[in-house]
Amino acid sequence: MTATTTRTSRDARTSREPLLQVRDLSVTFRRSGEEPFHAVSGVSFDVQPGQTVGLVGESGCGKSVTSLAIMGLLPKRGNTVTGEAVFEGTDLLKLSPKQMRDRRGRDVAMIFQDPLSSLNPVVPIGRQVTEVMERHQGLSRKEAEPKARELLDKVGIPDPSRRLKEYPHQLSGGMRQRALIAMALACAPRLLIADEPTTALDVTIQAQILTLLKDLVQDSDTALIMITHDLGVVAGLCDEVNVLYGGRIVERADRHDLFARPRHPYTHGLLASIPRLDSARGERLNPVPGSVADNLPWDHACAFAPRCSNAVEACRTTQPELERIEGGVETPRLLRCHNPISEEA
């Protein structure tokens, strides 16, 4: 992506309403005999039409729960969702299950981590693609089939006529993920949520899938929420990045700002752990020490404090607020930290 195209598309965006406004989203799981568990707390972010927003954080920080809550796909029982997810003026969280079913796949679609288990093993690929088009576009199976072939071709599946008749286990991992992308984009949704779409794939194929996703969302002006634990994925794809820790946003910035000047110690740690070109492939440098198991409760501390090298006294007694900070050319920068990394670091 060149700098000029970025600029023009972004200028066009600012004049439009946000496509999705997530406001104060919280998800609490309740199990009998256990303390309620706040998987996501007070998460707010906007997605502009055609924009790619990253949700980044270690495993267990609430990325999937956030996306499932927006999609209305959390289990019926055992959890409470509060807040808003306003999509084109409608709060998705207030829709009836039926209304939400009509929107899923048509307005908002999702792809998941494991392409093999995300496909129905006993139904041919083609049928799984046409199923979505029949559902939302009122097409017959006959009418949908040529479109499915086109779609598979568009997502780079060679010999689509043959592939349509094949079963998921007959495709490679990358091909399966392409098929799932085809299904998700079948009805031209305005928003696509991709939950770690490349985590289960080979390194070489990861890059192909990311390029494909990037091209597809750009061509069709589809907004994308990219969920990943890998800042390397974000680097090539996202306009704006939200870093999650323990179910809360701890830093938000424009991609360039975030990579050039991370302010939150956790973001800094994540960035330091991206494998460099000059290191052995896949090797992680300086991963953030400790694990989420060490987290303090957010209520009166910074959850990250036990793992944080910058921690000061206040970090164990008061919760840092998410505040606007200086910098950030286009996206306002937000930060939740008592003792951020200095700008010059």
Partner: protein
């Protein structure tokens, strides 16, 4: 642990073990094109790419238990199908009637053309055993199909709707499961005013219903929280399609395995009902359980007339059990090496 709990646990275990991809994808591995234009050839043959069914089949083929079971079952089916060609006499033919004398020779001996001798009515024992396989096959298959139909319906209801539908269905199923199956079958069969082959079939089918229902419900529940159902839901797929295209076909694996085991149980129970006189009163067609029942009075002096039908019942049901158990084991990921 109570027998009911053991029964339940076994069924739920079976449901969970094979809940992953299972039925339907006939003959799966031969597939990949060696030329992969996008250069993903390296990832093509990833282990999970080989379907569960294919790998189960590979393990089955090497399992002697399965092979013995399959051979027994195949022989049984062949004999049943070709009975008229194999049997030297019709089942109600009485070529040896002349040799019978109630006090001195109630059972004609083995002789030329009658390798096992005759029965108490002068009919050829071997021919009756051969024809008996037909009744056994018909009763076993129909009773199992009946149980399958009822169980799949109830299990689908429970697994698809969950909530109170599930609770109601499963309470009924648990009550039925808690009764010893043969007692239940006897009770149902004796309710019929006119015992016949059909009362046997219906009684045994009803006894099988709760087994299939609980099994299917278990694997439907596992499917409900599976990734591909979540993915289908994320695309707004209708609930009916989720149940019938995405959940049900993937839940049937353990049910099919159970059917093989159920055939074995049906055969034994059908024989038991006939033996107790709850089956077809007309003995012209020959049925193993009925033959066993008829042999009771003469058993002391002529044990062979009881031995042969009993052996047939045992061997055939053993065949189905061996097949079913080895299929179950092959599909159970826990038993994989």
């Amino acid at each position: 642990m109570t027998p009911l709990n053991r029964k339940k646990e076994r069924l739920d275990g079976l449901a969970a073990s094979t809940a992953a991809p299972a039925a339907g994808q006939a003959g799966g591995v031969d597939v990949m094109d060696p030329v992969d234009p996008v250069g993903e050839a390296g990832a093509v043959r990833d282990a999970e790419g080989v379907s569960l069914l294919a790998s189960a089949w590979r393990r089955l083929r090497r399992n002697p238990m399965f092979i013995i079971g399959a051979v027994l079952v195949a022989l049984f089916i062949l004999v049943a199908v070709f009975a008229p060609l194999l049997a030297p006499h019709a089942p109600d033919d009485r070529p040896l009637i002349g040799q019978i004398s109630a006090s001195t020779n109630p059972i004609p001996k083995a002789q030329d053309g009658f390798p096992l001798g005759g029965d108490e009515k002068g009919r050829d024992l071997l021919s009756r055993l051969i024809y008996g396989s037909r009744q056994t096959l018909i009763v076993g298959v129909l009773a199992t199909l009946g149980g399958l139909a009822g169980g799949v319906t109830l299990g689908t209801l429970a697994g698809a709707f969950g909530g109170w539908v599930d609770s109601v269905v499963m309470r009924v199923v648990d009550v039925l499961l808690s009764l010893p199956s043969i007692l239940l079958a006897i009770t149902i069969a004796s309710l019929a005013s006119q015992p016949s082959q059909w009362t046997v079939i219906v009684a045994i089918a009803i006894v099988q219903v709760p087994v299939f229902a609980r099994l299917l419900r278990g694997s439907m529940l596992a499917q409900r929280s599976s990734d591909h159902v979540l993915a289908a839901r994320s695309l707004g797929v209708k609930r009916s399609a989720i149940v019938f295209r995405h959940m049900l076909p993937n839940s049937l694996g353990p049910v099919f395995v159970q059917s093989t085991l159920a055939l074995s149980v049906s055969i034994i129970e059908a024989a038991a009902l006939s033996f107790l006189g709850l089956g077809n009163p007309d003995d012209s067609k020959a049925e193993w359980g009925q033959m066993l029942g008829a042999a009771q009075n003469l058993f002391d002096l002529y044990p062979h007339i009881a031995f042969w039908p009993a052996a047939c019942i045992v061997v055939v049901s053993l065949g189905f059990t061996l097949m079913g158990e080895s299929m179950r084991e092959a599909l159970d990921p826990k038993s994989r090496r």
